[in-house]
Structures are given as C-alpha cells and as structure tokens.
Amino acid sequence: MGNQTAVLPALLHQVPGGESQPELPIGEIVQPLSLFERLWGESALRKLLLVALLVVLWQCYSARVANPLVFPSFSATALALWDSLIHGELPDRVAVSLRVLLSGYLLGILLATLLAAVATGSRLGNDLLEVLTAMFNPLPAIALLPLALLWFGLGSGSITFVLVHAVLWPVALNTHSGFASVSATTRMVGRNYGLTGWRYVVRILIPAAFPAILTGLKNGWAFAWRTLIAAELVFGVSSGSGGIGWYIYENKNQLEIARVFAGLLTVIAIGVAMDSLFRVVERRTVQRWGMSR
C-alpha cells in the first residue's frame, strides 16, 4: 500500500515531453469513508453484533418456554457460569481437561512425526502409513473408549489413549502429504548446501511443508477436543476430579441445567480461543511467508 502512494507521484513526473504540462484535475484520490462504513467493514464487529442478536433471541425464547429445567435463560446461564468460575469447581475442571488434552495432543504429535518421518524415508514406511491411516482415520476415537477402559482402567490413561488415536492419524497424514508435496526445486536447493538426514528434515522439509502440517495440527486439535469432552461425559478422569465433560454430566444429574449450559459455553469458549490461537500462528507464519493455499 505504502509503495503505491510513493510510486505514483514519481510516475507522474516522468511523463515525457512536459515543460508546459497542464495540471490535471484528478480530484481527491483518497477519500475517507464515513464512520459507519468503517465500522461495518470490521468483520469482528459484525460477528459480535450477530452474537449479541443470538443472545437476545435466546433470552426471549427462554422467557417464552418459561421452564428453567428444560431451557434456562441466558441471564441464568451467565449467573451460573460466574458462580461456577468464582466459587465453584469449574476452573479445576477446565484445568483437568486441558492437562489431559495437552498430554494426549503432544504425544499424538510426537508419534505422528515419527510415523511421517519413517514414511518419508522408505517406500515400505510409506505403505505402512497409508495402510494405517486408511484403516484408523475413519474410526472415531471415542469408539475405542470401551477397549481403552478395559486396557487402562478408569483414569487419565484411557482418555490419553483415545486422544492419541484422535490426533495421530490426521497429523501424520497431513505431515506426510506435506513432505511429499515439497517441490523438487526446494529439495535440490537443500541438498545443494549439503543438508542431509535430520538437518534436512528440520531446515527444509518441515518449514516447506508447514502449511500442510498446520492444517494437520488444527484438524488433530479439533478431533482431540471433541473426543475429550465426549470421553469425559462417560466418566470422570479419576474419581472426584473429572474434567468439563464430567462437570456437565454431573450437573445434569443434579438438574442444575443452567450449569449444564454454563459448561457448554465453556467448551465453546475454549474451542474459539484455540481457534484464534491457530489463526495467530497462521498469520505469523504461513500468511507472512505467502505460503497459504
């Protein structure tokens, strides 16, 4: 943008044969938009407006239903959320959920990286990855929970196991296809400067495949988060200290429906927060490098 304004006057001066150039009345090049137009141009603001609208609709509808056991109002939910956050157990629940999530996510990424590296290194490894992902990627992680309970018992071990399953396949698949699509030229440049083995993977393959890797991380995160909440709904991580899913389930049993809604809002809020985190990473890397697809 800044460049254009700098270049334009220079061009105008270079018009050939012009001692007696008439001053052309072009008019104003840059005209400020009205305040409303500028505000309306902000997509965040428009979205916020939509959220507010939905909240109003919620409040009106709950007033019509007038049955807090079925559909609590927004104000009741907000109060319950506030209460649970300040005096209640919600922060602990969130902490438990995030801790399990993070360990499962990181373990999944580690295994995925190893698998993708093996797959990139040899043809048989490549086949192995393809067979495994073809088999396990369509299998919802939560379907493994009964087995996990049998193997690891009631506790964080079982949840970590299903989380790893949720993360591993999408991340491995995307990382591998990212590695495979690194252009021949980029590869040759890397090898030209004598990069081989792990240095080649770290300095050439991973950054060059980063758009695909990031997509894998995002998908892996989305799967893991859904799986976690679903698994927690079935049982607490260990007796007495469950996560958000358990918080929702427990409050439903006690007919604290406003708290159930509060739990759901928390799940949404964490999801949105993670999504914006990924967007920041995307802006700072892939978009900044002009690699977004």
Partner: protein
Amino acid sequence: MATAAAPLLKVEGVTLQYKTRESLVTATWKVDFQADRSDRLVLLGPSGCGKSTLLKAVGGYLAPAAGVITLDGARITGPGPDRVMVFQEADQMLPWLTVRQNVAFALTASGSCGKREAEDQAGVYIKKVRLEKFADTYPHTLSGGMKQRVAIARCLAMKPAVVLMDEPFAALDALTRQRMQEELLELWDESRFTMLFVTHSIEEAILLGNRVVLLSPHPGQVREIMEVDLDDPANRFHGRCDELRDTIHRVLFKDTGDYVI
C-alpha cells in the same frame, strides 16, 4: 592437484539415463566437453537434448550411466556447495526466510561460515544485485526478476567453483531478461567465476557465453563446440552476431529441417 592450465570441469563420455514409470530414457549419449576457469560455457539445444539433465549431473543430483564428470580432478559423486545451482523456478527461494536469511542460509547450512559472518556476507552480495532495500522482505513480495537476483546473490555468496544456471531467465519478461543478462555479465566481470549456463535461446547463448556447446536431441549428443569471440572488441560489429546466430542455427537444425525449438 591439477595445474592452472588443466580444465576445471571435465565431462567425458557421459551417458545419462533416467527411469520413468514405464521405461528407461536415455537423455544424453556420450557427451564430452570441458570448462576452463572463468569460462562462460553455454549448453544450447532444443528441448529434449538433455541439457538440463546434464547440468543436474554436474550438480551431482544424477549419476552418469557411463562416463565421468570431474571437477578439479575429483570425481563428482553428489550435490555439494562447490557447485551451486540457480534454477528457473521461483520456489528456489525458501519462502519462510527473508532475502537476507535466504542468502545467509546457504552459508550456514553448508558450514561455510558462522551466523554472524553469514549475515555480513549476505549483505554484501545482496548489495551487489542491488536489492539492499528488500533485504528484510519475504520472497513472495518480490517480482520474478528480483527473485532471480536473490538466487544469483545466494549462489555467488557461496563462491562456488562452478556456477550452474538452469535457464534462470526463461520465465522472465523480455525487458527484465535483457537487464538480467547484462547484470550477470557485469557480475562476471567483477569476479570472473566459472559458469555453466543452460538455455534454449540462441541469442542468450551468444550474448552470455564465451563458448557454446551445441546439442542435438533424442538423445542429447554434442554437435559442435563453438567459440564466441564477441569479447574481442574487433568482432563487435553488428553483423558478427547475425553470422554466429546463422551458423548455430544451421548446425542445430541441419537434418531436422524446419524443426521449431
């Protein structure tokens, strides 16, 4: 090892083959040529003559099926920083690094120098290609010609024994190409590096080379090796260029009639 008079790069009886899914293709057949120090050797020929494949073999990306390629008496067995390639494609720039980091990357990755010194050297060579204003921008913001300049800066910063250029200006518009050719010659004049340049343009070959290897296609074979004597001011009259062009044209297409490149 080799004396100063011995040729720097020797390609002797090189046959190159590569596999496709169905078949084994012979790209070049018993190719011989040599490059002395400070030579600007151009490989010229129509598509299918294996000139890019030859360049990749010199780069070490491809082992000859027969024959040997030696650099300063040592056999070439793999890619290495003593032979730096400049490609035609814009993705030879690593998009996650700025212009300066791209040049410095070459120096640190190859272990030629430490981080600090690499940055300084990068600055020097970026200045040589007149891109100091863009040193800290990312490659995707640059024009095609600027990207090629960075590639040339990155290559020269390595001070390779041979510079390998694979149609580096082919994707540029005519005006930019002309400018780049002139700048390349100026850079050569400064440090007199040895260069192997692949092109399918007769004009480019005459302009840039001091010696031109003419290749015929399917499989690539050397037709003739011509001295381009335009460096000598006595030969710089207008007709000499046309004369050379006609000769090359005749040699390249002597049995294929009106084959179009």
